[in-house]
């Protein structure tokens, strides 16, 4: 049993190290605290609401950075294995293709965890300096941000397993934006119910297939310090884990049928 996990740990560790040594990701990492500082500035500009604006802006900017890094890292670390042909020396070792996919996914997820923790640390400093306080809801908001990044990573890896880097990046970004607009999609479905039944079915399918990022976004709750029930955290974790598992199964299915020519 131990031997099954050894290659996964090795691939995950190598991917994580590659990300840390990657110049582009390093630059992203430098920019994150700088731009999170912007949220402090925005807070200072909104007289009387400094803490609330700083809380909201820092979570928004953290989401932006987190998603950008998750997409870039997934594509760089996964698709580049195929493009640079390093996969030839990997898959000719006694490892199964699912181990490769899971190893890569775990490596990028570790990076996402690091990014989330750094963003949470910087945001906490920004909120406190704006006169606010870091509450369990703030922590929960960053926890669900991490869940969103896990889903984004799995989608980016799925797309990178059969399409180009550019297309994978664009489609994943599109999926994230569409998944963050769930309530708008529902409203569109309801308004199109009678006038355009065809469009209604398309939107319904999108609502089923697309991940519900909006439900995982706790920016309002965090800004107004609404307490989050533990059940919500459990359900959100279960939802994200299930979505990731299904996406990874699809990736493994594609990868196990793929020839590396």
């Amino acid at each position: 049993m131990k031997k099954v996990w050894l290659p996964i740990v090795a691939i995950a560790g190598n991917s994580y190290r590659e990300a840390l040594r990657n110049k582009m990701l390093g630059t992203f990492g430098l920019f994150a605290p700088v731009l999170l500082g912007l949220s402090s500035l925005l807070g200072a500009m909104s007289v009387g609401h400094e803490a609330r604006v700083a809380t909201d802006a820092s979570l928004w900017l953290s989401t932006l950075f987190g998603v950008a890094i998750a997409i870039y890292a997934s594509i760089t670390l996964f698709h580049a294995e195929i493009e640079r042909r390093t996969i030839y020396t990997l898959l000719t070792k006694p490892i199964a293709r699912w181990q490769f996919v899971v190893g890569k996914y775990v490596g990028v997820s570790l990076l996402c965890l690091t990014v989330t923790l750094v963003c949470f640390g910087v945001s906490a400093a920004v909120i406190v300096s704006a006169g606010g306080e870091v509450t369990p809801t703030t922590a929960a908001a960053y926890g669900t941000l991490f869940l969103q990044l896990l889903i984004v990573t799995s989608i980016a890896i799925l797309l990178a397993s059969f399409s180009s880097s550019l297309l994978s990046g664009l489609v994943t970004t599109g999926v994230f934006v569409a998944g963050s607009l769930n309530s708008q999609l529902e409203a569109a479905r309801n308004s199109l119910r009678d006038s355009a039944p065809g469009a209604k079915y398309v939107i319904e399918t999108a609502l089923i297939v697309l991940p519900d990022f909006q439900s995982l976004n706790l920016s309002t709750e965090s800004t107004y310090n609404v307490s989050i029930p533990f059940d919500f955290v459990l359900n959100a974790t279960w939802y994200a884990t299930s979505y990731v598992a299904l996406t990874l199964v699809a990736t493994v299915f594609i990868m196990s049928r793929r020839d590396f020519t």
Binding site: I11, N14, R17, R85, Y88, T89, T92, P94, D259, T261
Partner: protein, 305 residues
């Protein structure tokens, strides 16, 4: 001797281009590689060598036929447990040093601890990278990358080593070192399968050879079997005589002191020798030349084309 690699009636085609046109990369390929031998796979570009190797290593699944490594089908990941593979123009993780890269690949085989550390130390010395083992691979020259690639192919101390164009991009010294390394592997009882364009090296190294062209095997055997040990021409060094209009004989080189004559038949050879001796000329040498691998390669590829 046991067959370490077996291919039976193997075929593979790919769809290429916008119209998804079908291209047969490999057709009805059959050969086996026996334990402890150095087996060469030769053929021009596009012959199907790399596709064949990728089917053996499990990177490509054949459309038909059977590929077995150590008696196991290549879909079984255990078929790769005792296999080392160096791809053509290898790429590695540029952020890693050679030592880190070898540790990573070793871990994929479940290796670790002192055993892996010792093996890495031995390998970097063996491939001549001891001085640069802690340098990132992005700072390596092409020859150094090739050496690093050979080291990763040997990290699990495999019984079967597959090298795709291992001498590509190497200078003559590097080529000789790779050649010596391959001999060393055979001395250790390992089986080596390698594809190459550099025919003199294949000729010097291989116990058996398969000639592949347009996806088909044109011949498999020892060099003696493939060449049928036939002499195709003779070179005669002579002083004081020239062949004139003699059929099947022509001058290769002429200096003030001697003439180098080439003849392609035994009759022509005997005629040249008789005439030269009759004229009182001095015969310095008569050198028979057997068919080379290059001759077979050109003959087979021309015939197929």
């Amino acid at each position: 001797m046991n067959a370490v690699v077996e291919l039976k009636d193997v075929a593979k085609s790919f769809r290429v281009g916008f119209r998804r046109k079908r291209v047969d990369a490999v057709r009805h390929v059959e050969f086996d590689v026996k334990e402890g031998e150095i087996f060469g796979l030769i053929g021009p570009n596009g012959a199907g060598k790399t596709t064949t190797i990728k089917m053996i290593t499990g990177l490509v699944t054949p459309d038909q036929g059977v590929v077995r490594v150590h008696g196991l089908p290549t879909q079984d990941i255990q078929s790769r447990a005792d296999l080392g593979y160096l791809p053509e123009n290898p790429y590695f993780y540029e952020h890693l040093t050679a030592r880190e890269m070898l540790r990573f690949y070793g871990q994929l085989f479940g290796l670790g601890g002192d055993l892996l550390k010792k093996r890495i130390d031995d390998l970097v010395e063996r491939v001549g990278l001891g001085h640069a083992a802690d340098r990132q691979l992005k700072r390596y020259s092409k020859g150094m990358r090739q050496r690093a690639g050979i080291a990763q192919a040997l990290i699990n101390d495999p019984k079967l080593v597959i090298l795709d164009e291992p001498q590509s991009g190497l200078d003559p010294v590097g080529r000789k070192e790779v050649r010596d390394l391959i001999f060393g592997l055979r001395d250790e009882g390992k089986t080596v399968l390698f594809a190459s364009h550099i025919l003199p090296d294949v000729e010097a190294i291989c116990d058996r050879v398969a000639v592949l062209h347009l996806g088909l095997i044109r011949g498999v055997g020892t060099l003696q079997e493939l060449t049928k040990d036939t002499t195709t021409r003779y070179e005669i060094r002579v002083t004081g005589w020239k062949p004139g209009d003699l059929e099947n004989a022509h001058v290769l080189n002429e200096t003030a002191s001697e003439t180098l004559v080439e003849v392609t038949t035994t009759d022509a050879r005997d005629m040249v020798l008789r005439q030269a001796l009759d004229c009182g000329a001095t015969i310095h040498s008569v050198t028979p030349h057997k068919e080379s691998l290059e001759d077979i390669f050109i003959r087979e590829t021309k015939a197929a084309s």
